[in-house]
């Protein structure tokens, strides 16, 4: 004899006739004498019939059409070049998740571009000295750095001193280089000592570099003014 648990453990095989004769008889004897297991056995048979008799669901009319579209994209992906494959990665039907992720990506790229532009503007620029450069960039209180097309030079009245050409200047560099730009210099021209000074000053037109030459024992004389203005 077996108990209910063991009988029910073999119930599927029992109703399907998959048990060996000896075991089948043992379960049969138990089911014959146990109303509980007899009910379970009967209900299990009915469940099996119910599952077996469930109606078949039909596919929608667009099933194969959509499948063919997906297969076409799949072929393009596997056979085409990278450039031709790109559109195949886009979903056939618009999906909110995809659209949202694309929007996020666009925002991130936009922020990155804006930030990199700002960073570029904030980058300290340099002041170059060259005799041959023709480009001078000016600075104004409202803008960090703006290119100026026309050449500008700081020259002495005798064209003998080295030319100062301010290629680019930023407020930071103005601060950093103020000492240099505004330094007093001294050189000798035609056996005459000249004391000179370059001064940077803001005017309504922009940054102005003024060079003064101070011949010995003479009052300061303004030689040339270069205004870095638009």
């Amino acid at each position: 004899m077996i108990d209910c648990k063991r009988a029910q453990d073999s119930m599927s095989d029992f109703i399907e006739g998959l048990l060996e004769t000896e075991k089948h008889n043992i379960v049969q004897t138990h089911v014959d004498g146990c109303s509980l297991c007899a009910s379970v056995c009967e209900r299990m048979r009915r469940v099996r019939d119910l599952l077996n008799g469930l109606p078949q669901v039909a596919s929608s009319p667009t099933f194969e059409h959509i499948l063919k579209d997906k297969l076409r994209l799949e072929r393009e992906r596997s056979e085409g070049t990278l450039w031709r494959r790109l559109p195949s990665y886009l979903p056939i039907r618009p999906r909110p998740a995809f659209a949202f992720s694309m929007a996020c990506l666009a925002v991130v790229i936009g922020l990155f571009l804006v930030k990199s532009t700002l960073l570029q503007k904030r980058q300290p620029l340099f002041i170059a000295e060259s005799e041959h450069s023709t480009k001078v960039e000016r600075i104004s209180p409202s803008e960090d750095t703006v290119s100026l097309g026309s050449p500008a030079r700081l020259v002495s009245d005798r064209n003998e001193a080295p030319n100062y050409v301010l290629r680019k200047i930023s407020p930071q560099h103005l601060e950093l280089q103020r000492g240099y730009l505004s330094s007093t210099w001294q050189s000798q021209f035609n056996r005459e000592y000249i004391l000179g000074q370059t001064r940077l000053q803001w005017t309504s037109e922009g940054l102005q570099a003024v060079k003064y030459v101070l011949p010995s024992a003479t009052p300061p004389r303004r030689l040339q003014t270069v205004t870095f203005s638009p």
């Binding site: 029910q8 119930m11 379970v40 119910l50 929608s60 099933f63």
Partner: protein
């Protein structure tokens, strides 16, 4: 078969290509071969996946994905010994993944705080009141509800056995576990289903 000398035409019985042969033809670039595979398996897979996930649109998408995966694997056709069990394995895995995904979502949605009374107000679905449903639909619905109480592994086993009619050996191949385990799962699933449907079955007697 040959045509006899007297000109009597003997009907030639065309041999149906095996699934594995069809997949090989797909690999060789025969577009009709894949259509034939789709035609052969579309309904069986759709019904299998539908009974598994309980949503027809979802089932269709999963079946389409199954066919796409078959197409992707066409180059490996030599490694596929039993196409039928292989394609059901793919579909079953996709269906299980879908159920897992839903479970995660359900977890998140159930995690929401309840209202002060502790119960949410639900609008009854008037479109499907029991008295409006046909007898067949009532049976189907009762079975569907009972099936939902089964965990995926028991559900898969009983669908493959009682709805799809696979042999236990084939199911073992599809699920990837021993025949004894499959039998045990089917038995437990049936026991659970008969318990779930007990009142309903007694009610209609």
């Amino acid at each position: 078969m040959r045509e006899s000398a007297a000109g009597v035409r003997v009907q030639r019985k065309q041999r149906t290509p095996a699934d594995e042969e069809l997949l090989k033809k797909v690999h060789e670039g025969d577009p009709g071969a894949f259509d034939m595979i789709v035609k052969r398996y579309k309904m069986r897979l759709l019904n299998f996946v539908f009974r598994f996930v309980g949503d027809r649109d979802q089932a269709e998408e999963l079946v389409q994905e199954t066919f796409l995966r078959v197409f992707r694997e066409r180059k490996n056709h030599e490694r596929i010994s039993n196409f039928s069990t292989w394609i059901f394995t793919i579909a079953g895995n996709l269906a299980k993944s879908e159920l897992r995904r839903r479970k995660r979502w359900r977890f998140f949605s159930l995690d929401q705080p309840e209202s002060e009374e502790g119960t949410e107000f639900e609008i009854p679905d008037e479109s499907q009141r029991p008295d409006d449903l046909t007898h067949d639909r009532m049976i189907e619905r009762a079975v569907e509800e009972a099936m939902e109480t089964l965990s995926p592994k028991y559900r898969e086993a009983v669908i493959l056995r009682d709805i799809q009619g696979f042999a236990y050996e084939e199911i073992a191949e599809i699920i990837g576990c021993p025949v004894g385990t499959v039998k045990s799962r089917v038995n437990r699933a049936r026991l659970r289903l008969q318990e779930e449907l007990k009142e309903w079955m007694e009610g209609i007697q």
